[in-house]
């Protein structure tokens, strides 16, 4: 039998609130191809384990697991997760697609949610999404230039994977992080709503208001935090653009 693949995980959190239906444990996989200006998990950016230096001392973010080990940890929780399941988030979990696929294959009777930015090779996306029960797909900005400016890449791969997902027939849901002055503009929300409307079976849209508490972690990661948007401004929590197009939408 092939040796179990290895992956890097920076957190396993139990009783997470926003990562899918029911009682859930969320695995945060390390490494992300995007550099969103508002990122809350800067320790998830680099694919390697790294030392965080905080006021209370040092700790290592990121630990290697074999797929077998990680699946074992999650399977042991299965008796308590019958009303929910496990979720994979990040970072961008698809950066470790082969590892993740193996972990999912080794899970026993657990409902699986993938939370993804969609920024991944199509075959990686297909391979993992097909193994999941529900995909939470982020849509941040529709304008490619704005996307490049705020996340470091354009959104071509993301939009292509969204189309793939719509074809796959998997249950999915669109997630929009509401960042003041960036993603919460009326124009952007309308553009997102229009795009979602064009999908064959328009999914539910969930809006996640940005919470301005990310700054501290950057320092611990040895990164600078210079948000050039009004981070303390109230975000627009307006469902109208979605209501107008008869889309199901909610604020989390």
């Amino acid at each position: 039998m092939q040796a179990s693949r290895t992956g890097v995980v920076f957190d396993i959190r139990e009783l997470t609130i926003h990562d899918g239906p029911g009682l859930r444990t969320t695995v945060f996989l390390k490494g992300c191809p995007l550099r969103c200006a508002w990122c809350h998990n800067p320790e998830g950016m680099s694919p390697e384990p790294q030392v965080l230096r905080t006021a209370t001392g040092e700790r290592t973010a990121g630990r290697s697991y074999t797929a077998m080990e990680l699946a074992h940890i999650l399977n042991r929780q299965a008796p308590l997760l019958v009303d929910g399941g496990v979720s994979f988030s990040g970072g961008e979990p698809l950066m470790q697609a082969a590892f993740l696929a193996e972990v999912i294959d080794r899970l026993q009777g657990l409902h699986v949610v993938l939370g993804t930015s969609g920024q991944a090779a199509e075959e990686d996306f297909r391979s993992v999404a097909a193994r999941c029960d529900l995909v939470l797909f982020d849509l941040k900005l529709i304008d490619p230039e704005a996307h490049r400016r705020w996340t470091g890449t354009d959104n071509r791969a993301i939009l292509r994977n969204l189309a793939v997902l719509a074809e796959l027939g998997k249950p999915f849901c669109i997630r929009v992080p509401l960042v003041p002055g960036v993603t919460d503009t009326l124009a952007n929300l309308r553009a997102i709503a229009r795009l979602v409307r064009t999908l064959p079976a328009p999914p539910r849209v969930e809006l996640l208001p940005y919470n301005s508490a990310a700054g501290g972690k950057y320092k611990a990661c040895g990164l600078d935090w210079h948000p050039d948007y009004p981070e303390h401004e109230r975000v627009r929590t307006d469902l109208q653009p979605f209501d107008e197009l008869q889309l199901e939408a909610a604020i989390l």
Binding site: E14, L15, I17, T25, R76, L81, V82, D83
Partner: protein, 708 residues
């Protein structure tokens, strides 16, 4: 499901608020405005008792009578449920010297008077005190020695006379509504919810005035529902009106909490149980279950402390209502798992109907209303002391792990024997008034102090997680992996890790820890409780026809065992092999040790679900704190409700869930004036954070907080 569920549980969408009348009443009580009515500090009871050379039972009855007589009637214009205590302190029956002579060779429990049990309130409200009086009279006609019954009648008459004075005053004030209620109760069976609550208020307050404390309220929804049902059927009351009455009753329970004895204010045992199976089987959830929780939500004070019995069939709706209370940060409801507790009580010899009828006595220990004269907390075994001694002696003698475990077992057994021996000398003072409220005391003509159907004693196994972690560290790192040389560990323990910081880190970070679903530590935790339960079982009879029940609570022992206290038989331990500094607190009841890595709340459930609670049935909750930020988003309440389901499924026994914000707690330490009403769960009770001793404040701040 039963006929009682015809009435829908009020929807969660409309969380209750106090009506202005009650909001003002609450404000006045929190501000202590009613303290102006406390015109008498205490009474001189001793002089007349001495002059008449009264016996102890007659003195106890005289106490109830004089305390009732000494109360000034207080009826505030906006009150519908009355009674305000106006005598601050309960007088002594004897001088200290007399008491010492009376109790020579015997032990009094805590302050002496019977405490920490629960009356059969259902019986009291449905019969009324006059019926109890008739029962006492009939029994007196047959009794060889009528002294107890005459005392009981004296106390009944005292409570009735007090109610009579209140009725008279109400009439004079033009409060015919109140006068009518007080004319009927507590003398007659209550006929309405209003009467039942007024009856309970007076009868319960009279217990406190009789020197009893930790006076539990029992299965409130079970005994209150018939009255509400009758009101609803007759169209006298709607659910909103019922909720307001319940809220007023709850507020009234907070009037005198500063007068109640306890380790800290709030530790007063005014606990009530909601939900759970009925005596005859079947779901006992009824409309009062939800209405009482809604009232507690609106009142948001430390009393009454709500306990909610749950099983796998408890509706999500009810769980979510409970979690709304949790979210407020009141530290209740305390969740009790019927699927674990009832089998545990059956295994301990309780009859099926009684096991189904359990409540918590005051904090978390289980007892049967009206049928239990249990002394549920006679003390605690220091698991860390047993394990620490075993590790030091065992490693010094190069013994294998099994021998170290034997030593720990012997040490715990020695502690249990010492507690048991002291408990066999226990002297329960006469309690004529409490006896009126219990099953069969009047009928048999025997005071409660001579025992009831169940007479067990409870011993807690305290600070268990630290003890199990210490064993796990020794077995794994010292003996199996041989990464730590025994001498190095012993030296570090003696010096409190002064020169071996790396060892401290290794013990904390690398050794297996309870709370991570790691069998290497959890197995030892289960083993420790097994050995402890063995010790309790072999301690035999408790001298009152009961046994010693093993429990898992820690109460204040998490501080006392760590830092020493006059009230503890066991000396405080020093540094321990789990990587704990000398003097550091232990975790509360069942919880992972402070300052160690913990995976999360589900792993904690799985760790503590491994205990055999059929042998550890005295109670003592798994204790967890949630960050208030967890509740920020929509849907969090539903998630935590599912977490309660997982708790049921995990096989854990009892769960105390607190919602905290550490920054707020720190700010409250710095600026208490800004946080006067900040409530936290301390151990088996909730209290005002700013009124706690700093040592208890700090223990709370050091707990694991999930979801932050």
């Amino acid at each position: 499901m039963s006929d009682v569920l015809e009435l829908p549980i009020p929807s969660l969408g409309q969380l209750p608020q106090l009506e202005p009348r009650l909001a003002d009443m609450k404000r006045r009580i929190r501000a202590g405005e009613h303290h102006r009515f406390r015109t008498v500090d205490t009474l001189d009871l001793w002089t007349e008792c001495d002059a008449e050379q009264l016996s102890w039972p007659r003195r106890a009855a005289r106490l109830t009578r004089r305390m009732c007589e000494a109360q000034t009637v207080v009826i505030e214009p906006d009150e519908r449920i009355v009674f305000t205590r106006t005598v601050r302190r309960v007088p002594s029956l004897y001088t200290a010297e007399e008491l010492a002579a009376l109790t020579a060779g015997r032990t009094l429990h805590e302050l002496g008077p019977i405490s920490n049990i629960c009356a059969d309130w259902g019986m009291v409200l449905s019969q009324g005190l006059l019926a109890r009086r008739r029962t006492a009279l009939e029994a007196r006609a047959r009794a060889a020695d009528p002294e107890f019954l005459e005392g009981a009648i004296e106390t009944i008459d005292a409570v009735l006379a007090l109610a009579g004075r209140y009725a008279e005053a109400a009439r004079r004030m033009g409060r015919a509504d109140l006068a009518e209620v007080l004319d009927r109760v507590p003398a007659q069976p209550a006929a309405t919810l209003h009467e039942a609550l007024q009856s309970l208020r007076l009868c319960h307050a009279a217990l406190w005035m009789s020197g009893h404390y930790h006076c539990g309220l029992g299965r409130f929804d079970q005994y209150m529902w018939p009255y509400l049902q009758a009101d609803l059927a007759a169209g006298r009351l709607d659910t909103a009106g019922a909720e307001a009455l319940l809220a007023e009753f709850f507020i009234s329970l907070n009037k005198d909490s500063d007068l109640y004895p306890g380790i800290q204010q709030g530790d007063n045992g005014q606990s009530m149980m909601l939900g759970g199976l009925r005596r005859e089987g079947g779901d006992g959830v009824n409309p009062v279950t939800a209405l009482a929780m809604r009232a507690a939500y609106a009142v948001a004070l430390i009393d009454p402390k709500i306990n909610l019995r749950v099983d796998r069939d408890t509706s999500l709706e009810l769980l979510e209502l409970g979690v709304q209370l949790t979210r407020l940060g009141l530290g209740f409801p305390q969740w009790c798992n019927d699927e674990v507790i009832i089998p545990g009580l059956l295994a301990a010899g309780y009859e099926l109907a009684d096991a189904r009828d359990y409540t918590v006595a005051a904090c978390w220990e289980f007892t049967i209303p009206g049928r239990g004269m249990e002394v549920v907390n006679i003390g605690a075994v220091s698991m860390p002391a047993a394990v620490d001694r075993a590790i030091r002696d065992g490693l010094a003698a190069s013994e294998p792990f099994e021998r170290i475990l034997d030593r720990a077992s012997e040490h715990m057994a020695g502690q249990v024997r010492a507690l048991a021996e002291a408990n066999r000398r226990l002297l329960l003072p006469p309690a004529p008034y409490y006896s009126v409220l219990m099953d069969g005391c009047l009928e048999r003509g025997r005071d409660l102090c001579h025992g009831l159907r169940y007479n067990n004693s409870g011993i807690h196994g305290a600070a268990s997680a630290s003890a199990a972690d210490a064993l796990a560290a020794v077995r794994t790192l010292v003996l199996e992996e041989q990464r730590i040389e025994p001498g190095r560990l012993l030296r570090a323990l003696d010096s409190d890790f002064a020169e071996d910081w790396p060892l401290l880190q290794e013990l904390r970070e690398t050794a297996p820890k309870v709370g991570n679903h790691d069998d290497r530590a959890d197995g030892l935790l289960a083993k420790l409780f097994d050995l402890f339960a063995d010790a309790c079982a072999s301690a035999g009879d408790n001298g009152r026809g009961g046994r010693f029940r093993a429990g898992s609570g820690s109460a204040m022992y998490y501080v006392w065992l760590a830092q020493g206290h006059d009230g503890m038989r066991e000396p405080a331990v020093g540094a321990t092999a789990d990587g704990r500094h000398k003097g550091d607190f232990f975790s509360s009841s069942l919880a992972p040790s402070p300052d160690i890595p913990v995976r999360g709340p589900l792993s904690v459930l799985q760790s503590f679900g491994k205990l055999d609670y059929r042998r550890v049935c005295n109670g003592g909750p798994l204790t967890m704190e949630l960050a208030d930020s967890l509740f920020r988003g929509a849907g969090a309440v539903a998630k935590v409700a599912l977490f309660i389901r997982a708790f049921v499924r995990s096989g854990c026994q009892q769960l105390q869930l607190n919602t905290l914000n550490v920054e707020t707690l720190r700010d409250a330490q710095a600026h208490p004036e800004r946080h006067r009403n900040l409530v936290v769960r301390v151990w088996g009770w909730s209290g005002y954070f700013c009124e706690l001793d700093p040592v208890y404040q700090n223990q709370i701040i050091g707990r694991h907080i999930y979801g932050s």
